[in-house]
């Protein structure tokens, strides 16, 4: 019983991390129909640059080292995302295949550059004292505190995105843009600027995921591919461009991974893709997606 509860909780904490990363991916796709194959690279860029700021501060035992790493990682990823949209993707808006290929190219270049600058040694953020250690939970017993923080961050991101989309003028523009970009432009809205804002936000979420993820587990080369793949599976299961769908998709994928690893570790990955195949067979637009 305790084992089952622990496996479920592990699944949920992993789902929380997936949600933070994949919601950015889904947001960008929802408005611009851009399948950003470099989303995992944004995760890495955020994490590595944040680590470069974190390490010297941590060595000097500055208590705020980790707290500073979070906004730095988000800002670094956001800047990288904006540069990518402005310099490359903006010129080929509406040409999805070309954008997908260009972002694959970007991800290869970024991965090599990061390897050249930061080397292949895995790194890991150390959570600040307040978030470190374990917490006593009913059923599960002692559980890493930071993993609970992960869930809190995901809930905050979900609520924040919901408020942004439902309550702000930018949210109105994004939702209208998903429906009809030309008409949105005819309403006087500068659509490329909205697209840039969305790209910055989506990339910042990847950067946030990078710092959170690299605190929970080591940061290493190749993580970009893993998080890109997971983001793709999550939004395919949940429904492209839908925030609630991304949440549902993250929980299902996180649980599938952890339950699979508990029951049949060798074939665990099959469960995740089995889930995707099942959803595609029954509801090709994803569980909460709209049909195109």
């Amino acid at each position: 019983m305790a084992l089952a509860a622990t496996v479920v909780l592990n699944g949920l904490t992993l789902a929380a991390l997936y949600f933070v990363v994949a919601s950015g991916f889904s947001l960008i796709f929802g408005l611009m129909r851009t399948v950003n194959m470099a989303h995992g690279s944004l995760y890495l860029v955020g994490a590595y640059i944040a680590y470069a700021v974190f390490e010297p501060l941590y060595d000097r035992e500055a208590w705020y080292a980790w707290y500073l790493a979070v906004p730095v990682g988000m800002a670094a990823a956001a800047l990288a995302g904006v540069a990518m949209q402005k310099l490359l993707l903006g010129w080929m808006q509406g040409q999805e295949l070309r954008q997908a290929l260009v972002t694959i190219g970007v991800s290869i270049v970024v991965a090599d550059q990061l390897l050249a600058h930061f080397g292949g040694t895995p790194r890991q953020f150390l959570a600040p004292d307040a978030l470190f250690g374990t917490t006593e939970l009913p059923l599960v017993g002692r559980y890493p505190t930071f993993r609970l923080v992960q869930i809190a961050v995901a809930v905050a991101v979900g609520l924040g995105l919901w408020l942004l989309l439902a309550r702000t003028k930018l949210g109105l523009m994004v939702r209208a843009g998903v429906d009809d970009q030309t008409m949105l432009s005819a309403c006087g809205v500068n659509v490329p600027r909205v697209a840039l804002a969305v790209f910055a936000l989506g990339a910042a979420l990847a950067g946030l995921g990078g710092v959170i993820g690299a605190t929970a587990q080591p940061l290493a080369q190749g993580m970009d591919g893993r998080f890109l793949l997971t983001s793709l599976v999550v939004v395919i299961v949940g429904g492209m461009g839908s925030v609630p769908g991304t949440a549902v998709g993250s929980v299902l994928v996180g649980l599938a991974e952890q339950i699979g690893q508990a029951l049949f570790p060798t074939y665990a990955v099959i469960l995740t893709f089995g889930l995707m195949v099942a959803v595609l067979a029954v509801r090709p637009q994803g569980l909460m997606g709209r049909s195109a």
Binding site: K169, A176, D179, S185, V191
Partner: protein, 233 residues
């Protein structure tokens, strides 16, 4: 106000607009013509939604080749064919999207006053509205941008006659306010109720500009330019 000179639009091999010349002053102008003559393309070309070649200017601002948002900022609003309201937005959200604050001439409160039906439906989504309600919403959305000129593409399409009459009253009010109007209409009754002058579009050109009374009273002209007499439409 709006001046269009020698405007051409091509889609691949198809030459849709073949040199349109047009001027809309303070007087509203109606454009009539059969389907496929290029009326909707003309609206979209002025708005910058399709690429064209030629001159387009509003007062002294050159608008040729501008993106739709620049054209909108310059003072032209479009009520497009098929309404094109946003399915994801509620009625009130449509209006908030283009709201220019409480000091503007057209405010949300005024839009709800003009179209009480929209006030009742303010929380309903864009897809839960009837055709007539969607049309009112598209018009309210255009007016809240406080344009100097409104282009309306078939606003009476699919509307009940009583709503068409209400709409004609609203449009005459716009003219009285000094807002320019370019009204594309198949419905001759609507066109002549609002505009004194009617331009007839034939194969991508303005073939003639007539007095509304002249066209309304002459079935031969109607057959020639519209393919039907008004009574059958």
């Amino acid at each position: 106000m709006l001046v269009v000179r020698d405007l051409h639009v091509r889609f691949g091999q198809a030459h849709i607009l073949q040199g349109v010349d047009l001027a809309v002053g303070p007087e509203p102008l109606a454009i009539v013509g059969r389907n496929g003559m290029g009326k909707t393309t003309l609206c979209q070309a002025i708005m910058g939604m399709v690429a064209g070649r030629g001159q387009i200017s509003l007062d002294d601002t050159d608008l040729a080749g501008r993106a739709p948002n620049r054209v909108a900022r310059a003072g032209i609003a479009l009520v497009p064919q098929g309404r094109r309201t946003f399915p994801s937005l509620t009625v009130d959200e449509h209006l908030r999207l283009v709201d220019q604050g409480p000091r503007a001439r057209w405010t949300r409160a005024r839009a709800y006053e003009t179209f009480p039906r929209l006030a009742e439906r303010r929380r309903n989504g864009g897809t839960q509205l009837s055709g007539g309600e969607q049309q009112m919403l598209a018009i309210a959305r255009a007016l809240l941008m406080n344009p100097r000129l409104v282009i309306m593409d078939e606003p009476s399409e699919g509307l009940a006659p009583v709503i068409v009459d209400h709409l004609a009253g609203v449009l005459r009010g716009l003219t009285a306010e000094g807002i320019g109007l370019l009204l594309v209409e198949q419905n001759l009754r609507m066109a002549t109720a609002v505009c004194d002058h009617v331009a007839v579009m034939v194969t991508g050109r303005i073939a003639a500009t007539l007095q509304a009374t002249e066209l309304a009273g002459n079935e031969d002209l109607q057959r020639r330019y519209l393919g039907v007499a008004a009574g059958h439409h």
